[in-house]
Point group: C2
Chain length 260, copies 2
């Protein structure tokens, strides 16, 4: 990052856009950390923690960029720990409780597919901040996808119970996926001037791969549609988000400005 | 690892020795995971989780080796999740609760110094299983040591409160360090035939570096001595170890033999 980044004519829209995706990664990473010592095998404990750490790493990069671009002197920590629930703009699927291992695998499949499509599109973009982040993040998310789809196939082809849990997992995640297809004015404005990729194409590529993945697992679920009302992107979060934030922000808020 | 490892004349002593250090790493990693979303900055959250993951990685390697060598068909998961408290042979300092950040930094300094000395000695040993593991683990522990000593210097030279917390942290860890200097018959027998390094030398090198580190921080603590009675290595653990194990083993014990 440059110390004094160029302010584009598209500011502050691009910064808001980056913050959305920083929040997606931060909240997803935080949720996955709850699997510490909870996974069925040490190997999966380690794998889930590594996926969580990758996402917290993504969040750190994006939050630092956001802080620099908005020019109000906010650090990654200020942005992570100092905002209230309504100021978080992550989509709801990222904050969704993990559920059992089947549901976590289902969630990981959906999210990793979304991220590889989105970050792949970022990587191909002309906007330097997206291109640089996107190429690294996409590579990591491909590994997460491989892990998630390998487990999904194993559960689908395992016992009757494992197949049922996976199916229930996808059913639980499904109602929260449509939000990723919402194209609001922020996205339209930025895409119109070519700063960000066309989200309609990203969404179409994502859903096509998602339906194909489900078909391969012998599952069928209704077509995804973008919801009409305000959801996570507008600060309207699930009830369970309150305790996630409380957990994440407790120490920092109990000792405001603590530097050690 | 070979599918059918050579059984040395020193078996089962070497396997018991490996298990001790596997338990040290497993329990240390598990404790550090409790810092998830608890560290003062996201950066430290990530650093502590990475140190935890490195240790769980060390434990996995050593537990798998132990399982192969003992030839009773136990996997890393059986060994991690299927043993009772008295069967864990980690030294007590590894299971010590984290305390505040100052205490965790103090604990990390002491342990990372110990590990770099021990694993460095393993790396130079003629026993292949120790040499192979030791060289990789020592390299990682050098990074942990750098992180811990950097923070220790920052806390010692920070505010009055941070210096006091660090000092209290070392004072809290101190009574549990002497166990690492115990040289029992298992160690003596293996060292006598040259299978493991001389622990008296490892201990002397460790305490010398530890006292020098403390002096650099402006701290003075009494000389460490090996305790007389049975401690963690003999399965005699701190009271707080019960809840650590319960947390770690809960899922596996609730669903014995669950493979997903």
């Amino acid at each position: 990052m440059n110390a004094a980044p160029t302010t584009l004519p598209t500011e502050p829209a691009l910064t808001s856009y980056l913050l959305r995706h920083a929040d997606d990664s931060l909240v997803h990473g935080q949720r996955l950390c709850e699997w510490v010592a909870r996974a069925p095998r040490i190997e999966d404990d380690v794998a889930l923690l590594n996926i969580a750490l990758d996402h917290i790493g993504h969040a750190r990069t994006l939050l630092t960029t956001v802080g620099e671009r908005e020019g109000r002197g906010r650090s990654e920590d200020d942005l992570a720990f100092g905002r209230s629930e309504m100021e978080f703009s992550n989509a709801r699927v990222f904050e969704l409780p993990n559920g059992d291992f089947g549901q976590t695998v289902a969630k990981l499949v959906c999210i990793a597919l979304w991220e590889t499509e989105l970050f792949g599109a970022w990587a191909a973009s002309d906007e330097a901040v997206l291109a640089e982040f996107g190429s690294g993040a996409e590579r990591e998310c491909r590994y997460h996808l491989k892990y998630a789809t390998t487990w999904a196939a194993r559960l689908a082809g395992g016992t009757q119970e494992s197949a049922e849990r996976l199916e229930k997992g996808f059913a639980a995640v499904w109602p929260h996926l449509g939000e990723l297809l919402v194209i609001d004015s922020l996205v339209t404005d930025l895409a119109d001037v070519g700063v960000i990729p066309d989200h309609a194409r990203v969404g179409a590529a994502w859903t096509a791969r998602l339906y194909a993945e489900l078909a391969g697992l012998g599952l069928a679920l209704p077509e995804l549609v973008a919801p009409a009302g305000p959801q996570g992107r507008q600060g309207n979060h699930l009830e369970s988000f309150t305790s996630l934030l409380a957990e994440m922000q407790y120490l920092h808020r109990a000792h405001p400005g603590a530097t050690w």
